[in-house]
């Protein structure tokens, strides 16, 4: 065996290792459009349904990242994705105003629902969302073992909507978190999970929760929960797509992101979105709105 000092050998191995790493890095640069999407668009299967159509039409891979609105916006701010598809109007407008996104383009909507146990122990059936929340807080503070509420607690679009409803009901969100209802061992609980898992937990805990109608329909088969509050202006749930502004992060592909936006609001795809879920659930999960803000 040739004589070689340990040092040379180590350096040689280090060079090999670095070479392999670099080659992997080069291999990994697959051209793809990365989209961070809110969990409700993913859990309903809408992306799985649209993805092959987009890939075929534009000949580019679509990489879907499953994230809540909070983390999706963070990915967008850091330039790690090319577009975001989310549902929180206030934060979306802020995101665009801050220069991170090009334009907010609504492409579909549905409604939020407050769902709960079929026997409705707090008696909120048919109330407006604000009144329902007031009632839940009253009854829940008295009997937190029986009246429970599961909150997403993850800064998602649904969580933001829940905070809006509490505000409309006269409670700043901090007061909800500090209420005796939330301090009780049971009662109001923030779980920090996606919509699907939150529905499953709510079902196990015999609790109430706020959900988008699409995810609820997609999960309904395995749930005992029933919709209790379904009408009210506050319950409108609009999904938008925003292409990430390449000015902040050169290297993001605006052209392909714009293709995605155009794709989502094209008449053909809008029709597909409007029909999505009809076969399986009997009703559409989303109502298309082709780039315009839907009106209540």
């Amino acid at each position: 065996m040739r004589k070689m000092s340990i040092k040379t050998k180590v350096i040689a191995l280090a060079v090999i290792a670095i070479a392999i790493i670099v080659s992997i890095i080069l291999m990994a640069r697959v051209p793809a459009l990365k989209v961070a999407t809110t969990s409700s668009l993913y859990d309903t299967g809408l992306w799985g349904y649209l993805q092959p159509r987009f890939e075929e039409k534009y000949g580019v891979k679509l990489h879907i990242l499953y994230a809540g609105t909070g983390i999706a916006l963070e990915y967008g701010k850091r330039g790690d994705v090319h577009a975001v598809a989310i549902h929180d109007k206030a934060r979306e407008l802020q995101f665009v105003a801050d220069g991170y996104g090009v334009e907010r383009v609504p492409f579909a909507y549905n409604y939020f629902l407050i769902v709960g146990p079929p026997d409705d122990p707090a008696g909120i059936k048919g109330l407006t969302p604000e009144d329902a929340c007031k009632k839940l807080m009253e009854e829940g503070s008295e009997d937190p073992d029986r009246i429970r509420f599961v909150s997403r607690g993850d800064d998602s679009g649904t969580h933001a909507k829940e905070k809006d409803i509490w505000r409309a009901a006269g409670f700043a969100y901090a007061t909800v978190q500090e209420s005796s209802w939330a301090q009780a061992r049971e009662g109001y609980a923030e779980v920090g999970s996606g919509m699907g898992p939150t529905l499953l937990m709510t079902n196990e805990m015999n609790a109430y929760t706020l959900t988008d109608s699409g995810t609820f329909l997609a999960y309904k088969g395995g749930l005992a929960l029933v919709p209790l509050v379904e009408t009210g202006e506050l319950l409108l749930n609009v999904y938008s797509v925003i292409a990430i502004n390449p000015e902040k992060h050169p290297g993001t592909d605006l052209e392909m992101a714009n293709n995605l936006v155009a794709f989502l609001i094209s008449p053909e795809i809008q029709e597909l979105i409007g029909n999505y879920g009809v076969e399986e659930y009997g009703v559409p999960l989303f109502i298309p709105c082709a780039g315009a803000e839907p009106e209540e």
Binding site: M4, I6, I20, I24, Y66, G196, Y219
Partner: protein, 229 residues
């Protein structure tokens, strides 16, 4: 209990029918964990030899630090690599966040301390007499390292198996820097986690069983290799 039984039968069904998606995910999992383990061992084995054979100030402290890193949470590694590779981060120019390469880097960082620490222990386990005899017979430094590595090969192999197992079964890194993209960065653990969050418990159990099955097959192969020598 019935769920566990359904999980088992579902796993059997997926394995026997060669479910294309599951097979693809399993192959990707092995490829990524295998690459990480290979690269980590390329770094760790020479470095461990160096640390073991050299006397230097602070050696004990260094070994303590390495051993502490055995228990670093995978999410912390994931977070670190995420911040590093994000476009807003120092290595953002590479544009490799949410790719298998990012997962390989993360898993390498995760398992390198394990390989390092356990290899150092393995080398320490070789009796001094072997070293002394070899030196008196005129072995060069490099020959000595090879000899000791050879003597310690069972323990080194055990370290490799453990490192590979950690890479195979970790979730934090794969989720944070891979992003669980279907057909690209989805591996067994992230698929399992997604199935769980969707309430598809049988599918999740089946994936878990397949993951264990993969680990079993690999361990059997490695043990065979070990015995043949």
């Amino acid at each position: 209990m019935t769920e566990i039984w359904y999980g088992l039968t579902k796993a059997m069904e997926l394995i026997i029918s060669f479910d294309p998606e599951v097979m693809e995910i399993a192959a990707r999992t092995l490829r990524i964990a295998g690459t990480s383990c290979l690269l980590a061992s390329l770094i760790s084995l020479p470095l461990a030899s160096l640390i073991h054979f050299r006397r230097f100030h602070g050696k004990r402290v260094l070994i303590n630090i390495i051993q502490t890193l055995f228990s670093v949470p995978t999410v912390i590694v994931g977070l670190f690599v995420f911040v590093l590779l994000s476009r807003a981060g120092p290595l953002g120019e590479l544009g490799i966040l949410f790719t298998p390469a990012a997962m390989v880097i993360g898993q390498m960082i995760l398992i390198t301390p394990i390989l390092l620490g356990l290899t150092i222990s393995a080398l320490s386990g070789v009796s001094k007499e072997v070293v002394e005899t070899a030196t008196s017979l005129g072995a060069s430094g490099f020959q000595l390292v090879l000899l000791v590595l050879r003597e310690a090969r069972y323990a080194v192999l055990a370290a490799l198996i453990l490192g590979f197992g950690r890479a195979l079964s970790e979730l934090g890194v794969a989720m944070m820097v891979g992003g669980n993209i279907r057909g690209f960065t989805r591996v067994m653990t992230t698929a399992l986690s997604l199935a769980t969050t969707r309430g598809e418990l049988e599918m999740a159990l089946a994936l878990g069983i397949i993951l264990l099955f993969l680990a079993l097959v690999i361990n059997i192969v490695l043990n065979r290799l070990q015995q043949r020598r």
